[in-house]
């Protein structure tokens, strides 16, 4: 098991390295470097350019050096917790992003929990009651959920909430908490606001997962050991719990690898529509104003979040399923 974990973590490192290179290339692609556009922007606003500061930044981020060197500076900086400098906000990136990263992680985790809670029982019901009215109804709902892009769902929800409740459901906390330090009251308030984005983000993922669980469990239910168990007179509930469900559990944990990128993608765009204080709106701003260090560190953060999430699910799978653990050697 220990070997498996070690191996899995070691394969993660090259992945992250390549991702960081990709991100670096992406943030380098726009013509000119950031300081040039920064200076141009300052000049267009008629502000004086602080030569000293420019020189300092140029030196600090090695913008006068070659590409590989710049990459090295950027990457080693990140490893030490220095994500670069946001020109838009005129602050180090660390200070700009603040709570947003935590809230993004929070929303992603809660959304996945929500997806599990909803998808698992419904998937089991659909599989055990195949071709019943319940199955058809749920499948139909699932298709609609799958086909409705979540940002459009967010728009429709915003409209409905406005019509029926006359309130805005945007945001993630009551206005008085936005700048308040973290406290229990703030956490409670966030949790109270959290469910709407979670439902919106989770819908399509849930629908997809229900379909996959259903298909998986249906395959499992046709296997001979289930027939054998039934022939031996095991009560249906026990039979389900002891065999097919356990196998389906594995798949369920492994499916996070599919789910997580989808949830994180969805969270970004829904956050823009519902103006949630997560990474979404800020990433969009940063991309539009070509504030590339900020955008780059967001991209990097989202990628790390995904990779680590998949790692956790793989490790959980290994803990759950001895086949994975033992086959780990030749994976």
């Amino acid at each position: 098991m220990l070997i498996y974990i070690l191996r899995r973590i070691l394969t993660m490192i090259p992945t992250l390295l390549i991702i960081s290179m990709l991100v670096f290339v992406i943030i380098q692609l726009p013509p000119g470097d950031y300081l040039e556009s920064y200076i141009a922007e300052l000049q267009s606003q008629g502000e004086s350019v602080n030569e000293e500061k420019i020189q300092y930044l140029r030196k600090e981020y090695g913008l006068d050096k070659s590409m590989p060197e710049q990459y090295w500076t950027w990457m080693t900086g990140m490893l030490q917790g220095d994500f670069g400098y946001s020109f838009e906000y005129d602050l180090p990136v660390n200070e700009v992003v603040g709570d947003r990263l935590i809230l993004t992680v929070l929303i992603s985790i809660v959304t996945i929990l929500f997806t599990w809670l909803i998808a698992f029982p419904i998937g089991i019901y659909s599989a055990t009651h195949q071709y019943s009215w319940g199955d058809y109804g749920l499948s139909f709902l699932g298709f609609i959920g799958l086909a409705t892009p979540n940002f459009l769902l967010a728009l429709v929800m915003l409209y409905l909430a406005n019509v029926y409740f006359g309130t805005s459901i945007g945001g993630l906390m009551a206005p008085e908490y936005i700048d308040a330090p973290w406290s229990w009251a703030k956490v409670k308030d966030i949790l109270a606001h959290l469910w709407i984005p979670v439902v919106v983000i989770g819908t399509s993922g849930t629908a997809g997962m229900i379909r996959r669980i259903r298909a998986n469990l249906l395959d499992e239910l046709q296997k001979q050991y289930v027939t054998t168990g039934r022939a031996k007179g095991l009560p249906p509930g026990k039979l389900m719990r002891k065999y097919p469900l356990r196998i389906a559990m594995n798949f369920f944990v492994a499916d996070v690898g599919n789910l997580l990128p989808q949830v994180i993608s969805g969270a970004e765009i829904v956050a823009v529509v519902m103006s949630l204080p997560t990474t979404g709106p800020m990433l969009l701003d940063a991309l539009q104003s070509q504030d590339m260090y900020l955008a780059g560190s967001f991209l990097m953060f989202l990628a790390v979040l995904t990779v680590v999430g998949v790692l956790v699910s793989d490790l959980a799978l290994a803990a759950l399923d001895p086949r994975v653990r033992l086959q780990g050697a030749d994976r």
Partner: protein
Amino acid sequence: MSQSPRDHYVSSEPFDPHSIEQLTPEQEKIFLASQWQLMWWKLKRHKLALVSGFILLCMYVSILFVEIIAPYNLHTGNDDATYAPPQGVHLFHEGDFIGPFVYRREATLNMETFTREYTDDLESPQKIRFFCRADEYKFWGLIEADFHLFCPPENGNLYLLGTDRLGRDMFSRMMYGARISLTIGLIGIAISFAFGIIIGGLAGYYGGWVDFIVQRSIEIIRSFPELPLWMALSAILPVNWSPILIFFGITVILAMLDWTGLARAVRSKLLALREEDYCTAAELMGAKPKRIIGRHLLPGFSSHLIASASLSVPNMILGETALSFLGLGLRPPVTSWGVLLNEAQNINVVALYPWLIIPVFNVVIVILAFNFFGDGLRDAADPYK
């Protein structure tokens, strides 16, 4: 002892050893049918897929004739009818049937909120004209014409789905938007198809280190959340590109992240198929890899590929819609559904002018249709099962 005549006899016809294997006409039809014919029969039984396919066909045919179907031009704006709500089409006026008509609109400016308010003048019906002349357009950007399927009444307006902030007809804009949104899916899938077949084909046929590199890069691309990467890539498209170039840029960006699924499918199929005897035979006869892959292996699962491609078209359409919605995708004057929805980004706009989110329903219908159709195709793709 009376013997009744026996009811069996020995036939005098010569014995035909194949008589038992003779096929009835129906069986013969099935056994001799080509693979594509079998697929069509199987697809025909999937009613939902058929209906979806029909809807898609109608949509794709209609985007050929957008200029004629849309009553207005893409850019025709009416300063006196900004944010006008949808007009209802009526058939009966005061109990008499007079054909499809709309009521004349009165616009007043509310001086407190500075918004226009519209009231229908129930006394004056205005008949919708059919097969008529109205806004001029260039059909496919080539032929100048002004013929429309139906037009607004004389001295009146026809806003079936309301207007936007510049008083442009939403219905017409949606029709024009369909042209972009639907073709971007097809062009995108064509590009990602090419990527997927070439890369997956190489990986599956050669195996070894080629396979290893392809597999790892697919894993890396897939481990990245799609949307942020799309956003980042489309944000770096130069600002001074023309809208048409941006259109192709966005399509390529969408395709660049989409080929992985197809490449995986091609790879795993090829890995299995290249062990088959006919493949070895072709190799022994000196066929080049390109010919073996293209002539012998790909046709074996081309139906699967088509099915999986039709399942990933919606992903493309959604990606484009999301990007344009965020303002990172297509730029006006190129108009897609996402560009239209971009105007509805703000909650205040949505609350005041809810008809601006109508393109949402188009997107949902197209995606549902593609999903059902693709599902049906996938089931039909293996007719021998």
